[in-house]
Amino acid sequence: MEISFTDKDLEFRDEIRSWIENDYPKHVKEKQDKGEALTKEDITDFHKAIAAKGWMGFNWPTEYGGTGWTSTQIYIFQKEFGLAGCPAILPFGVAMVGPVIYTFGNEEQKKRFLPDILNFNTWWSQGYSEPGSGSDLASLSTKAVKEGDHYIVNGSKTWTTLAQHSDWIFNLVRTETTEKRQEGISFLLIDMKSPGVEVEPIITIDGAHEVNTVFFTDVKVPAENLIGEEGKGWTYAKFLLANERFGIAVVGAEIRQLNKLKEIVSKLNNSDLSRKVKKLEIDLSALEISGLRMLSDIETKGHPGPESSILKIRGTEIQQRLTELFVEAAGEHALIYPGPKGHEADSQPDGPDYAAKALAKYLNYRKTSIYGGSNEIQKNIIAKMILGL
């Protein structure tokens, strides 16, 4: 056992750091460091820069154009990006649909979709949740009916992150009504420009437009957009979920936030808050080691176990707690909230400059324990899969 990095790991880390130092697009960095909202163009520029370096497929095998990095390298890459305050890499293409395509798609599909993901030429969205089916994903009712060489899709998907910017959406759709609900589900890729696709914004309590409902009305989808076999969509969806490595990806960003918070709190002379920050620091350090333990397991067994549910739960709890403590640090100045974009440059209130951002994040992050399988569902999974209850 050894907690330190090898020299090779440290060299790798320096390479990442050097990219961030030199090639992380300056206009994105500037906004990001100030906590300003990024435009669609900013986000695209950031991803294109990563793609240019060949790092977009950071979690892909080399045969599909990925980096072929070890788990430790992926961890270092994500942590360094987080520590440096880079925007999150959008998971929908590279972490979600990409691995599904190269694992279950046909050669045609691989050629057609993978390069655009690696070059960030297509912006993907995820079509899983529906207005009527949240945690109970298998109850989804969006229908895809085969007509000749097309599917006709009707229904809706909701909580679709950044669908307003996206080119493509991958969907779980019902192609058959079966007794076992999971068996009638298929995995279908839909071009967002298809006639009959409509995007309706959902404004969240922080006032932001980040998520949407996507409506499908008689949308004609070529049959070649079906991944794998009809009725096997549930298997692919589960593969995708298991591939998510929540909690590790965010550690770097959370450490950066924590350090900011520590700096703020060190000037407040507030022992209660200092104590809470210490507790959170310990929680975060446990989370990081838990993530590393999971990586060790992946290296040994080839895949993460249901333990990743623990990371999801603890990770979101820590994220949320961190946003709470920023709000507490803002004290009475947490009363003012100008919305997710913050104050106009010429009308800042007198008071801590982080207050508005703190509130935006506190409100926005309430979602983290709900999405991606609510924390209640994660506990059900742990109870069943790990504890055998």
């Binding site: 309590i205 947490a334 009363l335 909230y337 008071g351 209640e376």
Partner: protein, 365 residues
């Protein structure tokens, strides 16, 4: 000992409930927020007609002489539908100070307030301080018959709509409360939206010149009035919190009964049941502390400020828990701005920021 509300108090609650339930819809509330006015002037007029604006004022100034119990009833009901109107600012904070001061135009001012024609805001918070505003940097100095005020106040509730301001200043080696017409020259304002859909104002005072007649109170009297007003306002927002929490758990029960997942209403999942029980119990604990605080305030007991601190501490802690759980159990709908549930969470953030948060009051207790 008697912990039952009187018939008059029950009738008052019913009257307020009736208004809140029928007139204060989510859509109406959204409309008020979008108007940018901070509140609805017709509702304010109605509050006046119903006598609600007169509740806490002394009878000799034309009020009903009601106390903390009636105010708690009002605010608890207001909390359930998230009433935006600036009752706290105009009636409770400023109203209390004016009504209990020896100010010469006291009765006229109270009448102007209760008739709904005048708004007054209390400017006591300063940006470089946090929760403790005993020593204002904003100062008033003598200049013959007049005094000159310089300084800055922030987080002035409803400051944009106020006709007059009560300003908390250092005056020689004492403190004072001074009443200033908002049109007075030397004042400048920046208005900000609050997290709970209201507005507050940052006010700068540059050589503001007012007559000494504008002094409402000096020294111990001024400190006493300010502390009493804040204590009463703390009680009121705590009652309002309890209204929010009550609505949170009731709406969560209703939502989970209607939401089907895995072939049954999610209200049937035992884990969610126990968590709703916890929400309910937290609310009940707060309610018990409210009873204690409001009755001790009512009978002006020595321990009242301590009881209010206990209450505000618990409100902060329980309010956060209950509103977060309400959002969580509503799932995606909980974080949508189009459902009332997330607005309770925002209201409870605002209340925690007002008059000292949970930690502050635990320390004070």
């Amino acid at each position: 000992m008697d912990l039952n509300f009187s018939d008059e108090q029950k009738m008052l609650r019913e009257e307020i409930q009736k208004f809140c339930m029928s007139d204060y819809t989510f859509e109406k509330r959204e409309e008020i927020i979008k108007s940018g006015e901070g509140f609805d002037r017709d509702f304010w007029k109605l509050f006046s007609e119903l006598g609600w604006l007169s509740l806490p004022f002394n009878e000799d100034s034309g009020g009903f002489g009601c106390g903390p119990v009636e105010l708690s009833i009002l605010f608890e009901e207001f909390g359930k539908v998230l009433v935006l109107e600036p009752y706290l600012s105009t009636v409770v904070l400023s109203g209390y100070i004016i009504d209990n001061s020896s100010f010469s135009q006291r009765v006229e001012f109270v009448e102007a307030i209760t008739s709904g024609n005048k708004h007054v805001s209390l400017a006591y918070i300063e940006p470089n301080q946090n929760f403790d505003h005993a020593d204002p940097e904003t100062s008033a100095v003598n200049d013959g018959e007049n005094i000159i005020i310089n300084g800055k106040k922030s987080l002035v509730l409803n400051g944009g709509n106020a006709d007059d301001l009560i300003v908390w200043v250092s005056y020689d080696d004492k403190k004072a409360l001074i009443l200033i017409d908002k049109e007075q020259s030397g004042l400048s304002f920046i208005e900000f939206p609050t997290v709970d859909g209201q507005t507050c104002t940052e006010i700068s005072f540059k050589d503001v010149n007012v007559s000494k007649d504008a002094i409402l109170a000096i020294g111990d009297e001024a400190e006493g009035l300010l502390n009493e007003a804040i204590n009463l306002a703390t009680l009121c927002v705590s009652a309002e919190s309890i209204g929010c929490m009550t609505a949170c758990y009731m709406k969560t029960i209703e939502y989970t009964k209607g939401r089907q997942q895995f072939g049954q209403p999610i209200s049937k999942f035992q884990v969610l049941q126990h968590r709703m029980v916890d929400m309910f119990m937290e609310t009940e604990v707060c309610k018990s502390l409210l009873y204690k605080a409001m009755l001790e305030c009512d009978s002006n007991q020595d321990t009242k400020s301590k009881s209010v601190s206990a209450l505000k501490y618990q409100i902060g802690t329980s309010g956060r828990l209950v509103s977060q759980e309400a959002v969580q159990l509503h799932g995606g709908m909980g974080v949508s701005d189009e459902m009332l549930i997330g607005h309770y969470l925002k209201k409870l953030v605002a209340i925690d920021a007002l008059f000292g948060n949970s930690d502050y009051h635990l320390k004070k207790y």
